[in-house]
Protein backbone atom coordinates (compact mmCIF):
# COMPACT_ATOMS: atom_id res chain seq x y z
CA UNK A 1 0.00 0.00 0.00
CA UNK A 2 2.89 2.32 0.76
CA UNK A 3 4.25 1.62 -2.75
CA UNK A 4 0.81 2.38 -4.15
CA UNK A 5 0.71 5.62 -2.21
CA UNK A 6 4.24 6.92 -2.73
CA UNK A 7 5.28 5.45 -6.08
CA UNK A 8 1.81 4.98 -7.60
CA UNK A 9 3.01 1.41 -8.15
CA UNK A 10 0.49 -0.47 -10.32
CA UNK A 11 2.07 -3.87 -9.73
CA UNK A 12 1.63 -3.37 -6.00
CA UNK A 13 -1.94 -2.26 -6.64
CA UNK A 14 -2.58 -5.41 -8.69
CA UNK A 15 -1.46 -7.45 -5.68
CA UNK A 16 -3.79 -5.49 -3.48
CA UNK A 17 -6.56 -6.31 -5.93
CA UNK A 18 -5.77 -10.02 -5.88
CA UNK A 19 -6.10 -10.14 -2.13
CA UNK A 20 -8.98 -7.75 -1.50
CA UNK A 21 -11.25 -8.04 -4.54
CA UNK A 22 -12.50 -11.57 -3.71
CA UNK A 23 -13.04 -10.60 -0.06
CA UNK A 24 -14.78 -7.33 -0.87
CA UNK A 25 -17.00 -9.29 -3.23
CA UNK A 26 -17.84 -11.73 -0.45
CA UNK A 27 -18.69 -8.79 1.81
CA UNK A 28 -21.01 -7.22 -0.77
CA UNK A 29 -22.72 -10.52 -1.61
CA UNK A 30 -23.29 -11.03 2.09
CA UNK A 31 -25.43 -7.87 2.16
CA UNK A 32 -27.69 -9.37 -0.49
CA UNK A 33 -26.16 -8.06 -3.69
CA UNK A 34 -26.09 -9.98 -6.95
CA UNK A 35 -22.70 -11.10 -8.15
CA UNK A 36 -22.44 -8.42 -10.85
CA UNK A 37 -23.54 -5.66 -8.48
CA UNK A 38 -21.00 -6.87 -5.96
CA UNK A 39 -18.28 -6.72 -8.60
CA UNK A 40 -19.22 -3.13 -9.39
CA UNK A 41 -18.73 -2.28 -5.73
CA UNK A 42 -15.38 -4.07 -5.68
CA UNK A 43 -14.23 -1.92 -8.57
CA UNK A 44 -15.48 1.30 -7.01
CA UNK A 45 -13.95 0.57 -3.63
CA UNK A 46 -10.54 -0.33 -5.00
CA UNK A 47 -10.56 2.59 -7.42
CA UNK A 48 -11.28 4.88 -4.46
CA UNK A 49 -8.41 3.26 -2.57
CA UNK A 50 -6.12 4.04 -5.52
CA UNK A 51 -7.30 7.61 -5.80
CA UNK A 52 -7.28 8.37 -2.11
CA UNK A 53 -4.03 6.52 -1.48
CA UNK A 54 -2.39 9.79 -0.40
CA UNK A 55 -4.68 9.78 2.63
CA UNK A 56 -3.51 6.38 3.81
CA UNK A 57 -1.64 6.78 7.09
CA UNK A 58 0.04 3.62 8.45
CA UNK A 59 0.46 5.31 11.82
CA UNK A 60 -3.26 5.21 12.29
CA UNK A 61 -4.65 2.39 10.18
CA UNK A 62 -3.86 -0.95 8.69
CA UNK A 63 -4.50 -1.44 5.00
CA UNK A 64 -7.36 -3.83 5.71
CA UNK A 65 -9.10 -1.41 8.05
CA UNK A 66 -8.65 1.45 5.61
CA UNK A 67 -10.20 -0.58 2.79
CA UNK A 68 -12.94 -1.83 5.10
CA UNK A 69 -13.79 1.79 5.87
CA UNK A 70 -13.99 2.77 2.18
CA UNK A 71 -16.16 -0.27 1.50
CA UNK A 72 -18.59 0.50 4.31
CA UNK A 73 -18.89 4.14 3.19
CA UNK A 74 -19.66 3.05 -0.34
CA UNK A 75 -22.19 0.47 0.75
CA UNK A 76 -24.04 2.89 3.01
CA UNK A 77 -24.10 5.52 0.23
CA UNK A 78 -25.68 2.97 -2.09
CA UNK A 79 -28.28 1.75 0.36
CA UNK A 80 -29.34 5.22 1.49
CA UNK A 81 -28.83 6.93 -1.82
CA UNK A 82 -27.24 9.81 0.00
CA UNK A 83 -23.80 10.58 1.36
CA UNK A 84 -22.89 8.94 4.59
CA UNK A 85 -21.68 11.56 7.06
CA UNK A 86 -17.94 11.03 7.56
CA UNK A 87 -15.59 12.69 10.06
CA UNK A 88 -13.32 15.51 8.96
CA UNK A 89 -10.08 14.21 7.52
CA UNK A 90 -6.94 14.99 9.43
CA UNK A 91 -3.94 16.35 7.59
CA UNK A 92 -1.15 13.89 7.08
CA UNK A 93 2.41 14.29 8.21
CA UNK A 94 5.04 14.07 5.47
CA UNK A 95 5.50 10.52 4.30
CA UNK A 96 9.25 10.58 4.98
CA UNK A 97 8.50 11.78 8.46
CA UNK A 98 6.56 8.68 9.43
CA UNK A 99 7.41 7.30 12.83
CA UNK A 100 8.49 3.70 12.19
CA UNK A 101 7.96 2.81 15.84
CA UNK A 102 4.40 3.96 15.75
CA UNK A 103 3.73 2.03 12.53
CA UNK A 104 5.31 -1.10 13.97
CA UNK A 105 3.44 -0.65 17.24
CA UNK A 106 0.11 -0.46 15.46
CA UNK A 107 1.00 -3.56 13.48
CA UNK A 108 1.76 -5.43 16.68
CA UNK A 109 -1.45 -4.30 18.35
CA UNK A 110 -3.37 -5.43 15.30
CA UNK A 111 -1.83 -8.90 15.33
CA UNK A 112 -2.65 -9.17 19.01
CA UNK A 113 -6.21 -8.24 18.26
CA UNK A 114 -6.21 -10.81 15.48
CA UNK A 115 -4.91 -13.44 17.90
CA UNK A 116 -7.63 -12.48 20.37
CA UNK A 117 -10.25 -12.88 17.65
CA UNK A 118 -8.97 -16.36 16.89
CA UNK A 119 -9.49 -17.46 20.49
CA UNK A 120 -13.19 -16.60 20.40
CA UNK A 121 -15.73 -19.38 20.47
CA UNK A 122 -17.51 -20.11 17.21
CA UNK A 123 -20.64 -18.35 18.49
CA UNK A 124 -18.75 -15.23 19.50
CA UNK A 125 -16.89 -15.18 16.21
CA UNK A 126 -20.17 -15.25 14.32
CA UNK A 127 -21.46 -12.34 16.39
CA UNK A 128 -18.32 -10.30 15.68
CA UNK A 129 -18.57 -11.05 11.97
CA UNK A 130 -22.23 -10.07 11.88
CA UNK A 131 -21.55 -6.88 13.84
CA UNK A 132 -18.81 -5.67 11.53
CA UNK A 133 -20.63 -6.62 8.36
CA UNK A 134 -23.40 -4.30 9.47
CA UNK A 135 -25.90 -7.03 10.30
CA UNK A 136 -26.49 -5.97 13.91
CA UNK A 137 -28.17 -2.78 15.06
CA UNK A 138 -26.58 -0.53 17.67
CA UNK A 139 -28.85 -1.96 20.34
CA UNK A 140 -27.86 -5.50 19.37
CA UNK A 141 -24.17 -4.65 19.59
CA UNK A 142 -23.59 -4.81 23.31
CA UNK A 143 -20.00 -4.88 24.38
CA UNK A 144 -18.76 -6.38 21.10
CA UNK A 145 -18.12 -9.58 23.07
CA UNK A 146 -15.37 -8.18 25.24
CA UNK A 147 -12.70 -7.67 22.61
CA UNK A 148 -9.52 -6.17 24.10
CA UNK A 149 -9.78 -2.85 22.31
CA UNK A 150 -8.08 -0.72 24.94
CA UNK A 151 -4.47 -1.17 23.86
CA UNK A 152 -5.06 -0.63 20.18
CA UNK A 153 -7.11 2.45 20.97
CA UNK A 154 -4.29 4.01 22.92
CA UNK A 155 -1.82 3.08 20.19
CA UNK A 156 -3.94 4.79 17.55
CA UNK A 157 -4.44 7.74 19.84
CA UNK A 158 -0.71 8.12 20.13
CA UNK A 159 -0.50 8.50 16.38
CA UNK A 160 -3.27 11.06 16.48
CA UNK A 161 -1.67 13.10 19.25
CA UNK A 162 1.60 13.13 17.38
CA UNK A 163 -0.19 14.30 14.28
CA UNK A 164 -1.96 17.01 16.21
CA UNK A 165 1.29 18.14 17.73
CA UNK A 166 2.87 18.45 14.30
CA UNK A 167 -0.11 20.37 12.97
CA UNK A 168 0.26 22.82 15.81
CA UNK A 169 3.90 23.43 14.96
CA UNK A 170 2.95 24.07 11.35
CA UNK A 171 0.61 26.84 12.31
Amino acid sequence: MIAVRDQRDKTAFAQLFDFYAPRLKAMAVRTGMRSDEAEDIVQEVLLTAWRKAAQFDPERAQVSSWIYQIARNRQVDLVRKERRPVPEELKLPDADDEDANQVLGLEQETSQLKAALSTLSEDQRIVVEKAYLGELSHSEIRDVTGLPLGTIKSRIRLGLERLRHELKELR
Partner: protein
Protein backbone atom coordinates in the same frame (compact mmCIF):
# COMPACT_ATOMS: atom_id res chain seq x y z
CA UNK B 1 -10.95 20.29 22.87
CA UNK B 2 -9.27 17.79 25.14
CA UNK B 3 -11.71 18.52 27.94
CA UNK B 4 -14.56 16.58 26.37
CA UNK B 5 -16.07 14.50 29.15
CA UNK B 6 -19.10 12.89 27.58
CA UNK B 7 -18.36 10.61 24.66
CA UNK B 8 -20.18 8.45 22.14
CA UNK B 9 -21.04 5.03 23.65
CA UNK B 10 -18.93 2.16 22.35
CA UNK B 11 -21.80 0.27 20.72
CA UNK B 12 -22.75 3.34 18.67
CA UNK B 13 -19.17 3.75 17.46
CA UNK B 14 -19.08 0.08 16.46
CA UNK B 15 -22.43 0.42 14.68
CA UNK B 16 -21.19 3.53 12.89
CA UNK B 17 -18.02 1.71 11.78
CA UNK B 18 -20.08 -1.18 10.40
CA UNK B 19 -22.49 1.11 8.57
CA UNK B 20 -25.46 -0.13 10.60
CA UNK B 21 -26.13 3.16 12.39
CA UNK B 22 -29.03 5.19 11.02
CA UNK B 23 -28.30 8.40 9.13
CA UNK B 24 -29.35 10.73 11.98
CA UNK B 25 -27.11 9.23 14.63
CA UNK B 26 -24.33 8.72 12.08
CA UNK B 27 -24.21 12.48 11.58
CA UNK B 28 -23.77 13.04 15.31
CA UNK B 29 -21.07 10.37 15.55
CA UNK B 30 -19.16 11.73 12.54
CA UNK B 31 -19.37 15.25 13.98
CA UNK B 32 -18.24 14.22 17.45
CA UNK B 33 -15.35 12.20 16.00
CA UNK B 34 -14.33 15.33 14.08
CA UNK B 35 -13.95 17.06 17.47
CA UNK B 36 -12.67 14.23 19.67
CA UNK B 37 -9.34 12.38 19.48
CA UNK B 38 -10.47 9.71 21.91
CA UNK B 39 -13.49 8.68 19.85
CA UNK B 40 -11.52 8.99 16.62
CA UNK B 41 -9.12 6.43 18.03
CA UNK B 42 -12.03 4.25 19.18
CA UNK B 43 -13.56 4.38 15.71
CA UNK B 44 -10.22 3.44 14.14
CA UNK B 45 -9.98 0.50 16.57
CA UNK B 46 -13.38 -0.77 15.46
CA UNK B 47 -12.36 -0.32 11.85
CA UNK B 48 -9.30 -2.41 12.61
CA UNK B 49 -11.55 -5.27 13.67
CA UNK B 50 -13.66 -4.64 10.59
CA UNK B 51 -10.52 -4.97 8.50
CA UNK B 52 -9.62 -8.24 10.22
CA UNK B 53 -13.12 -9.57 9.57
CA UNK B 54 -12.77 -8.54 5.93
CA UNK B 55 -9.39 -10.31 5.65
CA UNK B 56 -10.96 -13.43 7.07
CA UNK B 57 -13.97 -13.69 4.78
CA UNK B 58 -14.16 -16.65 2.41
CA UNK B 59 -12.93 -15.23 -0.88
CA UNK B 60 -15.42 -15.24 -3.74
CA UNK B 61 -13.97 -15.60 -7.23
CA UNK B 62 -14.16 -12.37 -9.21
CA UNK B 63 -14.97 -12.39 -12.96
CA UNK B 64 -12.08 -12.19 -15.39
CA UNK B 65 -12.72 -8.73 -16.75
CA UNK B 66 -12.94 -6.88 -13.44
CA UNK B 67 -9.24 -6.55 -12.82
CA UNK B 68 -8.25 -5.41 -16.32
CA UNK B 69 -11.20 -3.06 -16.38
CA UNK B 70 -10.08 -1.52 -13.10
CA UNK B 71 -6.41 -1.35 -14.04
CA UNK B 72 -7.39 0.50 -17.22
CA UNK B 73 -9.11 3.19 -15.14
CA UNK B 74 -6.17 4.05 -12.94
CA UNK B 75 -4.84 6.78 -15.18
CA UNK B 76 -8.21 8.39 -15.84
CA UNK B 77 -8.47 11.98 -14.60
CA UNK B 78 -10.04 12.23 -11.16
CA UNK B 79 -12.89 14.47 -10.23
CA UNK B 80 -12.41 14.88 -6.49
CA UNK B 81 -15.34 16.25 -4.62
CA UNK B 82 -13.86 18.43 -1.87
CA UNK B 83 -14.90 17.34 1.61
CA UNK B 84 -17.18 19.84 3.36
CA UNK B 85 -15.09 22.26 5.44
CA UNK B 86 -15.69 23.36 9.00
CA UNK B 87 -17.28 26.79 9.31
CA UNK B 88 -17.26 28.50 12.69
CA UNK B 89 -18.93 26.22 15.22
CA UNK B 90 -20.04 23.77 12.54
CA UNK B 91 -17.65 20.87 11.84
CA UNK B 92 -17.35 19.39 8.34
CA UNK B 93 -20.09 16.77 8.62
CA UNK B 94 -22.60 19.41 9.77
CA UNK B 95 -21.59 21.70 6.91
CA UNK B 96 -22.13 18.74 4.59
CA UNK B 97 -25.66 18.28 5.96
CA UNK B 98 -26.26 22.02 5.57
CA UNK B 99 -25.17 21.80 1.95
CA UNK B 100 -22.31 24.21 2.67
CA UNK B 101 -24.74 26.95 3.65
CA UNK B 102 -25.53 28.70 6.95
CA UNK B 103 -28.41 27.10 8.93
CA UNK B 104 -31.95 28.17 8.07
CA UNK B 105 -33.31 28.87 11.54
CA UNK B 106 -36.94 28.65 12.51
CA UNK B 107 -38.13 30.17 15.74
CA UNK B 108 -39.27 27.94 18.59
CA UNK B 109 -40.23 30.95 20.72
CA UNK B 110 -38.39 32.75 23.53
CA UNK B 111 -35.35 33.24 21.32
CA UNK B 112 -34.81 29.52 20.74
CA UNK B 113 -34.47 28.34 17.17
CA UNK B 114 -34.06 25.13 15.29
CA UNK B 115 -32.91 24.07 11.88
CA UNK B 116 -33.99 20.59 10.80
CA UNK B 117 -31.24 18.90 8.83
CA UNK B 118 -32.99 15.65 8.16
CA UNK B 119 -36.32 14.19 9.16
CA UNK B 120 -38.00 10.95 8.13
CA UNK B 121 -39.83 7.92 9.51
CA UNK B 122 -36.66 6.61 11.15
CA UNK B 123 -35.97 9.76 13.15
CA UNK B 124 -34.56 13.23 12.79
CA UNK B 125 -31.47 15.33 13.25
CA UNK B 126 -31.53 19.08 13.83
CA UNK B 127 -29.54 22.05 15.05
CA UNK B 128 -30.87 23.78 18.14
CA UNK B 129 -30.05 27.32 19.19
CA UNK B 130 -30.83 28.21 22.81
CA UNK B 131 -30.09 31.66 24.27
CA UNK B 132 -28.04 31.75 27.50
CA UNK B 133 -30.08 30.69 30.54
CA UNK B 134 -33.04 29.49 28.45
CA UNK B 135 -34.56 26.05 28.96
CA UNK B 136 -35.39 23.53 26.28
CA UNK B 137 -38.93 22.22 26.70
CA UNK B 138 -39.09 19.47 29.36
CA UNK B 139 -39.47 16.17 27.57
CA UNK B 140 -39.11 12.39 27.71
CA UNK B 141 -38.00 10.07 24.94
CA UNK B 142 -39.59 7.24 23.05
CA UNK B 143 -36.25 6.13 21.75
CA UNK B 144 -32.67 7.27 21.87
CA UNK B 145 -31.59 10.90 21.72
CA UNK B 146 -28.05 12.17 21.17
CA UNK B 147 -27.33 15.84 21.83
CA UNK B 148 -23.89 17.15 20.88
CA UNK B 149 -22.82 20.65 21.96
CA UNK B 150 -21.22 22.68 19.15
CA UNK B 151 -21.11 26.02 20.92
CA UNK B 152 -21.77 27.25 24.47
CA UNK B 153 -23.00 24.72 27.01
CA UNK B 154 -26.07 23.31 28.71
CA UNK B 155 -26.81 21.49 31.92
CA UNK B 156 -29.65 19.29 33.08
CA UNK B 157 -30.48 16.61 35.64
CA UNK B 158 -27.67 14.49 34.16
CA UNK B 159 -24.83 16.97 34.40
CA UNK B 160 -23.04 19.74 32.53
CA UNK B 161 -22.23 19.55 28.83
CA UNK B 162 -19.69 21.76 27.07
CA UNK B 163 -18.39 21.97 23.51
CA UNK B 164 -17.82 18.47 22.13
CA UNK B 165 -19.81 16.71 24.86
CA UNK B 166 -22.63 14.35 23.91
CA UNK B 167 -25.61 13.63 26.10
CA UNK B 168 -27.13 10.22 25.55
CA UNK B 169 -30.77 10.05 26.65
CA UNK B 170 -33.15 7.12 26.34
CA UNK B 171 -36.64 6.10 27.49
CA UNK B 172 -35.67 6.42 31.13
CA UNK B 173 -34.52 10.01 30.92
CA UNK B 174 -36.84 12.94 31.40
CA UNK B 175 -34.83 16.13 31.37
CA UNK B 176 -34.92 19.88 31.02
CA UNK B 177 -31.70 21.08 29.44
CA UNK B 178 -30.87 24.70 30.28
CA UNK B 179 -28.35 26.67 28.24
CA UNK B 180 -25.36 27.92 30.21
CA UNK B 181 -24.24 31.53 30.51
CA UNK B 182 -21.87 32.74 27.85
CA UNK B 183 -22.44 32.29 24.14
CA UNK B 184 -25.80 30.90 22.99
CA UNK B 185 -25.89 27.11 23.09
CA UNK B 186 -25.89 25.45 19.68
CA UNK B 187 -26.47 21.69 19.65
CA UNK B 188 -26.75 18.96 17.11
CA UNK B 189 -29.55 16.69 18.28
CA UNK B 190 -30.65 13.38 16.78
CA UNK B 191 -33.47 11.01 17.75
CA UNK B 192 -34.86 7.80 16.38
CA UNK B 193 -38.35 8.53 17.72
CA UNK B 194 -40.41 11.64 18.42
CA UNK B 195 -39.82 13.24 21.83
CA UNK B 196 -42.54 13.23 24.47
CA UNK B 197 -43.23 16.61 26.02
CA UNK B 198 -44.71 16.83 29.47
CA UNK B 199 -46.00 20.40 29.24
CA UNK B 200 -49.31 20.97 27.44
CA UNK B 201 -48.16 23.77 25.19
CA UNK B 202 -45.18 22.02 23.65
CA UNK B 203 -47.37 18.99 22.95
CA UNK B 204 -49.70 21.19 20.93
CA UNK B 205 -46.75 22.70 19.14
CA UNK B 206 -45.15 19.35 18.48
CA UNK B 207 -46.70 18.64 15.07
CA UNK B 208 -45.92 22.18 14.07
CA UNK B 209 -42.28 22.04 14.99
CA UNK B 210 -41.79 18.38 14.14
CA UNK B 211 -39.80 17.82 17.29
Amino acid sequence: MSDIKHHIPENLIAAYASGALGHHFALVVATHVSMCTQCRAALAAHETIGGLVLEDLDAQPVSMGVKSNLMAQLDAPIEVEPAPKRMGAYPGPVMGALGGDVPKWRSLGFGSKQSILHNDATGSVRLLFIPPGQAMPDHGHNGLELTLVLQGSFHDEDGAFGVGDVEVADEDVEHTPIAGNGPPCICLAATDAPLRFSGLVPRILQPLFRI
